[in-house]
């Protein structure tokens, strides 16, 4: 007989209905659980490296080197930053509302991570499968994040914080309207809210919706920059006016949570744009059959080329530790490349190819979208608050509304009357642009007439 403890354990495992239910639960949901854990674990790391890329890119644009000390070319900087943030003193101001102050950053972070639950990072890597309201879930839940911003700004009990919180509320309410209206155009084309159905529609129609609704994509791009509080719309945390906006009083881990929430939100927004407008996990020219093999091997080759480049750079590292680290990075790249190549060589593993390549293309597109965000941040100066509101309400929202009509007209012309699709799209896009130009002109005339008769109204949120 075995030990009584193991016997008892066996009894519990086999008999207890609760344990059986847990085992059954794990058997049904293990894919979702693994994906969820990977997302929660990977997002902080990814966010850290997005910050590093951003600093490097900014440095390059300003003819500097950027972080160079920690690891080769600053490759370990995010980890050093994370350690620094975790061991920093966690200050709660005396006059702050302690509970809400403690709780607000958590809301930001949790909302961003939860909304990732409905995103498909490639055809195989997802948490929730085929929710009926897929894209609405992502948008709705990620928009809860700014409750964290408002509450944090209010609970800090500081002028800068509350000013940042007020600005962020006004900005989010305005730009979420524009973003939502832009999404409707893509949903009209796909005819479904399910994420998989949206991507399948782009595959069936042989085109990314970016080309069928370019105005909607542009509107969504601008609105998504404003929703994630990034320059040129980073008024809630404008450092030259408000110190750090709603985050002024935060330090250490709580500050890091806000920061993570912001970057996770960027990933969410980029994923939504990729799914709706950039073809999701479809590779470029996904309907050209003869490109199947070259495009299928391309991800592995790209990653391997990155590894070769790392080895090339390793020779130029001044310190031995950095040289070793460069080799480790190169080996990691080769490892990933091997994982991508193995299914091509081993026939029984062929089923994994669409999942792996889909994940590559999806993440690639998300990265490009975030890269564009960075360009805009370093290129454009910050907007003034009244300019921001003006752009949102007088230009973007009318543009998005007109665009819904013109996308509908284009669909009617091409599907019901049998017009050439591209002709219909071009005509209706021209119509949208003409109408919006007219609107801008009219408003400018109106505004100049008003400003010549009366003084410019003061803006109470401008700070």
């Amino acid at each position: 007989m075995s030990h009584p403890v193991t016997q008892a354990l066996g009894c519990v495992l086999s008999i207890s209905p609760t344990m059986q239910a847990v085992v059954a639960f794990l058997k049904t949901w293990w894919v979702e659980l693994v994906c969820g854990v990977v997302i929660v674990a990977a997002v902080p790391l990814v966010a850290g490296y997005v910050v590093l890329v951003e600093r490097k890119l900014m440095a390059d644009m300003q003819a500097r080197l950027g972080p160079m000390r920690v690891g080769p070319h600053g490759l370990l900087q995010p980890i050093a930053d994370a350690v620094k943030l975790l061991i920093k003193e966690d200050i709660i101001p005396r006059d702050a509302d302690a509970f809400i102050f403690w709780f607000a950053p958590v809301i930001s972070m949790v909302a961003a991570l939860t909304s990732m639950g409905a995103i498909y990072f490639g055809p195989a890597f997802r948490v929730a499968q085929d929710i009926n309201i897929g894209i609405l879930f992502v948008i709705g839940v990620s928009s809860l994040g700014f409750l964290g911003i408002i509450l944090g700004g209010w609970a800090s009990n500081s002028h800068y914080s509350i000013m940042g919180a007020l600005r962020s509320t006004a900005q989010l309410v305005s730009y979420e309207t524009a973003g939502g209206l832009a999404i409707i155009s893509a949903l009209l084309l796909s005819g479904s809210l399910k994420i998989r159905a949206i991507v399948d529609a782009q595959s069936d129609q042989h085109v990314w919706f970016l080309f069928l609704a370019p105005v909607a994509f542009f509107t969504y791009l601008v609105a998504s920059i404003a929703e994630t509080n990034r320059a040129p719309f980073d008024l809630p945390e404008a450092e030259s006016e408000l110190v750090a906006g709603y985050m002024t009083e935060y330090s250490g881990f709580r500050w890091a949570l806000y920061f993570l929430g912001e970057y996770a939100n960027m990933i969410v927004v980029a994923s939504v744009a990729t799914t709706l407008f950039l073809g999701g996990w479809l590779r470029p020219f996904s309907n050209v059959r003869w490109l199947d093999i070259p495009m299928g091997v391309l991800p592995a080759l790209l990653i391997a080329a990155l590894g070769v480049y790392c080895i090339y750079r390793a020779g130029k590292q001044p310190v031995k530790v950095q040289l070793g680290f460069m080799w480790v990075v190169a080996l990691c790249c080769f490892g990933v490349a091997v994982i991508y190549l193995v299914p091509w060589l081993v026939a029984p593993l062929r089923f994994a190819i669409p999942g792996l390549n889909g994940a590559f293309w999806f993440l690639f597109k998300v990265a490009v979208y975030i890269y564009v965000f960075m360009w805009l941040r370093f290129t454009l100066p910050r907007y003034r608050f009244d300019q921001l509101m003006h752009l949102g309400w007088y230009i973007l929202i009318p543009l998005a509304i007109v665009n819904i009509f013109s996308v509908g007209i284009a669909m009617f012309l091409s599907l019901e009357l049998g017009w050439n699709r591209w002709l219909a799209v071009m005509l209706t896009t021209a119509f949208t642009l003409a109408v919006s130009l007219l609107l801008v002109r009219l408003h400018d005339k109106h505004a100049s007439a008003a400003s010549s008769t009366s003084a410019v109204p003061s803006d109470s949120y401008a700070g």
Binding site: N132, I133, L147, T169, V173
Partner: protein, 177 residues
Amino acid sequence: MLDSIFFYFFAGVAVLSAGLMVTRRNALHSAVCLVATLLAIAGIFLQLRAEFLFITQIILYVGGIMVLFIFVIMLVRLDAPIHQIRFRLQRFVAVLVILALAFEGVVILLLARKLPGEGLLIQGSAPADKLPPNSEALAKSLFSDYLLPFEIASVLLLVAMVGAVVMAKSRKRTSES
């Protein structure tokens, strides 16, 4: 089993935070509690497989209306009314309402014992496959069966919106002159 656990969790959170919302002195704390209530009710909607209602609740009520509430709370000075005398007569009404609610609760508990099965334990949720997807079903009934009422309602909302804008504008003009 799992269904009733989820149901009682959401219901408990909803009732608890609704109670906290009424009793908090600080208006912003009340607003936060109201957010919790609305989210818990959204959870109950989801459990009833009304996923469109769930997301509408979150986007409209939590993401839209509550944000405006909090916005107003932050702009308005709330220190003054805290020190004013509160309504007194309501205590009597409140006691009556609580008695009525308690009576109702006792009756429900007594009746539940006579229900078949395990009484208050929820027996499974709505069937998964028998209903058409929410958003499609809703769109079909709104845009085909009830098109006229839908349009009338939207025109009504438009009128209300225009009215609000006109009122806000006219007040501004009088204050300037």
